[in-house]
């Protein structure tokens, strides 16, 4: 049984880490970008961002004033049991979100869409989102928090098989151009692309590709992995950099996730994670151990399975 107090305490620490500490994989990617950038203004912007991450860590203050919309991705091993059950888990995550909003402090971004009611704690109707995934083995729970910026850089479109790769490229470029101008997407960013699924799943896949995969990771399908490389290159060849200034760094990495879709369609979504790629992860075990990391490791073979039954890959017998 995983103690509920430990889950809440860990969740509060994760909220703090996500807001303040830039994940190393993204930092490495941005430092690499800063080396290659030769646009005067773009270079200045990247350097300022690198200084900003340092300042955030030194002062223990949020790296960006817009601290995004906090949300949770929960992964559990098949044997994991939570003290108090799943309702207790959700209460603990909501409490941690509210406490950390006041504690760090974060910006209380969440309001009612019509009445603009603000509880000043980032908790409300359907907020924070809590999504679940499971793994065939293990008695642990992974708590993953992502605080993504909420307004720009995302779009969805129903494409069709006849649109083909050239249609996919067009919509990808259109999304980067539309939200890259004036830097609305807060690029250079990790770009997530969702292909296939139902419409809502398509959005979910693209969002997760942007926020739950790290810079340098590649899809397990080698042909999709090639597309990821090609699309990263394509985005960086626009000639647009940080803040929409002339530059050569728009995409720190491009991650693509797919889901089976209606035979007549090829839905596509594009998502830009921002310069403050806020994600933090912890694995909690029943014996009280907690391990922090920044790679959600969400897209396992199990998550991408394409068969009815799941048969774990066995090591070669010899």
């Amino acid at each position: 049984m995983i103690p509920i107090d430990l889950i809440q305490k860990t969740a509060e620490t994760l909220m703090d880490k996500a807001a303040i500490e830039i994940p190393q994989d993204y930092l490495d990617g941005l430092q690499q970008a800063a080396k290659t950038e030769d646009g005067d203004l773009s270079s200045f912007v990247l350097k300022a961002m690198l200084d900003n991450y340092e300042a955030a860590k030194e002062d223990r203050r949020a790296m960006c004033g817009d601290t995004g919309v906090p949300r949770w991705f929960i992964k559990m091993g098949n044997e994991a049991r939570i003290e108090g059950g799943m309702v207790a888990l959700e209460t603990a995550l909501r409490r941690a979100t509210a406490n950390a909003t006041n504690g760090v402090p974060l910006r209380p971004n969440r309001v009612h869409p019509l009445w603009r009611t603000d509880h000043d704690n980032n908790v409300g109707i359907n907020a924070p989102e809590i999504e679940y995934g499971f793994e065939p083995e293990g008695d642990w729970i992974d708590l993953i928090t992502v605080h993504k910026g909420g307004l720009f850089g995302t779009d969805y479109r129903m494409l069709f098989p006849s649109d083909g790769i050239q249609g996919i490229k067009r919509f990808y470029l259109d999304s980067l151009m539309a939200f890259g101008k004036r830097g609305l997407a807060c690029q250079p960013a990790i770009i997530g692309i969702g292909l296939g699924g139902s419409k809502d799943t398509c959005m979910v896949l693209g969002k997760r590709a942007a926020v739950l995969r790290t810079v340098g990771s590649r899809n397990s399908d080698p042909r999709i992995a090639e597309m990821e490389d090609e699309f990263k290159e394509l985005g960086n060849s626009i000639g647009m950099g940080a803040m929409g200034f002339v530059g050569k760094n728009m995409v720190i990495d491009c991650n693509i996730e797919v889901g089976y879709c209606h035979t007549g369609g090829m839905p596509m979504s594009v998502h830009a994670f921002c310069l403050s790629s806020r994600r933090a992860v912890a694995r909690v075990w029943p014996d009280g151990r907690v391990e922090y990391r920044t790679d959600p490791d969400w897209f396992t073979d199990y998550q991408r399975r394409d068969t009815v039954e799941w048969e774990p890959v066995r090591e070669a017998a010899e």
Binding site: A19, D40, L41, F44, V45, A48, M49, D51, N52, A55, A56, D59, R61, A62, M63, C64, G65, D66, T67, V104, P105, L106, R107, P108, N109, V111, R116, D118, D120, L151, F152, R157, L159, F160, S162, D163, G164, Q166, G167, K169, R170, F171, L173, M177, R182, G183, L184, C186, L234, S237, I238, G239, A242, M243, G244, F245, V246, C274, L275, S276
Partner: protein, 222 residues
């Protein structure tokens, strides 16, 4: 070429504003206030009295909601500050500038040169963009003190009017000048030269959307 760095007051003289060039980096000293849709609606549409002497106390309007809290003893804790996209506030800005004498509009992404020419220039005002976006922690370091929070109960923490004393707060980038030129439009024009090459070979979607055609008598198929 390294951009030029300038330290500017939040109640700047017209000479100081005239010296600013597109792409200059600016650091601010003095009082600044946050005002966005909540404050604009309350002051302009509901005609509430603005709880500051403007522009004598401050001519710097920041489009910002800080990551901040009000402590039980009434003191303030401000962590990071970053701007929000300004284009959404064009509806209120002409009247706001007229009423408050704001000379520095600070935000994300700037406005159009049409906005600059029609009401920034006549008011002797320029636009400063935050950098990144956003350098929330660096800007947070430039907050010497939070002097007041107005309309918190009416508007909530995010939309309230925060009055901030800045000490070398920055960096900001000069994104408009007194001729109404727009830094972002200048950059867009340079990037536009390359667009055709990048799009070469790509195809428009077989199913169009309204917006791609503004004629609603059009069909959206192929």
């Amino acid at each position: 070429m390294k951009p030029r760095e300038i330290v500017l007051s939040t109640t700047p003289t017209s000479e100081a504003i005239a010296e600013l060039r597109l792409g200059d980096i600016v650091y601010l000293n003095g009082l600044m206030y946050t005002a966005r849709e909540g404050v604009y609606m309350r002051a302009l549409e509901e005609k509430a009295n603005i709880p500051m002497e403007l522009p004598s106390e401050s001519a710097a309007n920041f489009h910002c909601s800080p990551a901040a809290r009000i402590n039980p003893d009434g003191s303030f804790e401000m962590g990071a500050v970053t701007a929000t996209a300004s284009f959404r506030f064009a509806k209120w800005l002409p009247e706001w500038m007229d009423k408050t004498g704001a000379k520095l509009i600070i935000g994300k992404g700037g406005m159009s040169s049409k906005d600059y020419k029609s009401y920034f220039v006549p008011n002797g005002a320029v636009y400063l963009s935050t950098v990144g976006y956003g350098t929330g922690a660096l800007l947070g370091r430039g907050v010497e003190n939070v002097e007041a929070v107005h309309w918190n109960e009416e508007l909530g923490l995010a939309q309230a009017m925060w009055v901030i004393r800045c000490k070398r707060m920055g960096p900001f980038i000069v994104a408009s000048d007194l001729e109404g030129n727009c830094l972002f439009e200048r950059e867009n024009a340079k990037i536009a030269e390359n667009i055709e090459r990048v799009y070469e070979g790509t195809k428009p979607a077989v199913l169009k959307r309204y917006g791609e055609s503004d004629d609603r008598s059009d069909e959206v198929i192929g």
